[in-house]
Symmetry: C2
Subunit: 213 residues, 2 copies
């Protein structure tokens, strides 16, 4: 359909999906299997993302293998111990109580890679990062589509990407952009957990918007 | 509303917004002013994006100043000339015919920055890029919300980010992640222009998805 026009009701639904999207960790995931059809739909959403020069530079590894998950948890634990000592005071004790991943609890994990092109890519000649950023746009599409399907998604960034690439036998040409945990949940928290715990305050929009009129 | 459940109709609307979203350039933008209310709504969508450690590391500069836009176009032109010589054969002549930005034509431009924290950020201790990636998630939210409002958005990446930061008098601590052009359009193309022109082929989803079951 050319020139599809969306309505204010459509906008309101999109806004709600964005508003109720959460980063989900292991204390919220259910073991209920996620149907392959749902995984396909989440990956299809990724493929609808914008990409620099229409390069579609993304690759996905869908992981359900317990042995693989256990090895990734080891990398998380190593990195999480290193992280814990960086925080001070109240944050130090709070940090150690937080559940920051759901690798084993989520029935499905997806590793998302950026694979660079050997030829020049239109639009990527002055800002190389545009390739990786295309992959991140795809991840945000996955996150929103998962939430619209009432499925939780959590992004685990406390891992050593090179170690995890070794565990996953990834191509040396690929960069690991994200390690995602996906599954049904007992509940979606009303607000981000780190906001509820006052780890960080929500910023006022006007404090981060400037004008050159 | 806690535990908001979305329906298959909601999923279908999200899928359509993703499907009909386009990267819009200067040959499609209309000069019709974009109400401040619409800009606010697009920025609000950005603020609903996930961010590592709830760090919300984004900043936005809304640009309507013609003089500023003209200077940014100069950076585009310099970088675009450098880019043109990188392509060969059919692509070389096609490249020079493409309209690859809409800086002047779009009534509103938005520069989007990542500003790193001086303190350690939860979740960013092992993968530093997670901060920039949060900003890209915010940009994808803006893109989808704009499309749901029937407003076009184009991401200009053929610029020298340091030169543009100079033009915009950006903080030296901020990294320019994206330069966006926003406005109403005469039409949204049915498919991405680079797909229609066979610059690149659409990848089959199955060719980029692998399994570790």
């Amino acid at each position: 359909m050319k020139n599809k026009q969306f309505t204010v009701d459509d906008q309101a639904i999109l806004e709600e999906i964005m508003l109720y999207r959460r980063d989900v960790r292991g204390n919220k995931f259910l073991s209920t299997p996620v149907p392959q059809e749902a995984i396909q739909k989440i990956l299809m959403a990724a493929s609808l993302a914008p990409s620099v020069g229409f390069s579609q530079p993304w690759e996905f590894l869908v992981i359900r293998n317990e042995e693989t998950k256990n090895k990734v948890v080891e990398s998380f634990e190593t990195e999480n111990q290193k992280a814990n000592v960086l925080f001070e005071g109240k944050k130090k004790s709070l940090y150690s109580q937080l559940k920051l991943e759901g690798i084993r609890e989520a029935p499905v994990n997806i590793a998302v890679y950026y694979t660079s092109s050997k030829k020049p890519v239109l639009g990527q000649t002055s800002m190389k990062e545009a390739g990786e950023y295309s992959v991140v746009c795809a991840i945000q599409n996955m996150w929103l589509m998962a939430r619209a399907m009432n499925i939780g998604l959590g992004w685990v960034s406390i891992i050593d990407p090179e170690v995890v690439k070794g565990i996953l036998k990834s191509s040396p040409d690929s960069k690991l952009i994200a390690y995602l945990c996906i599954g049904y949940v007992d509940e979606f928290l009303e607000s981000p957990e780190l906001e509820m715990l006052e780890w960080e305050k929500r910023k006022e929009l006007q404090s981060v918007v400037h004008y050159d009129d």
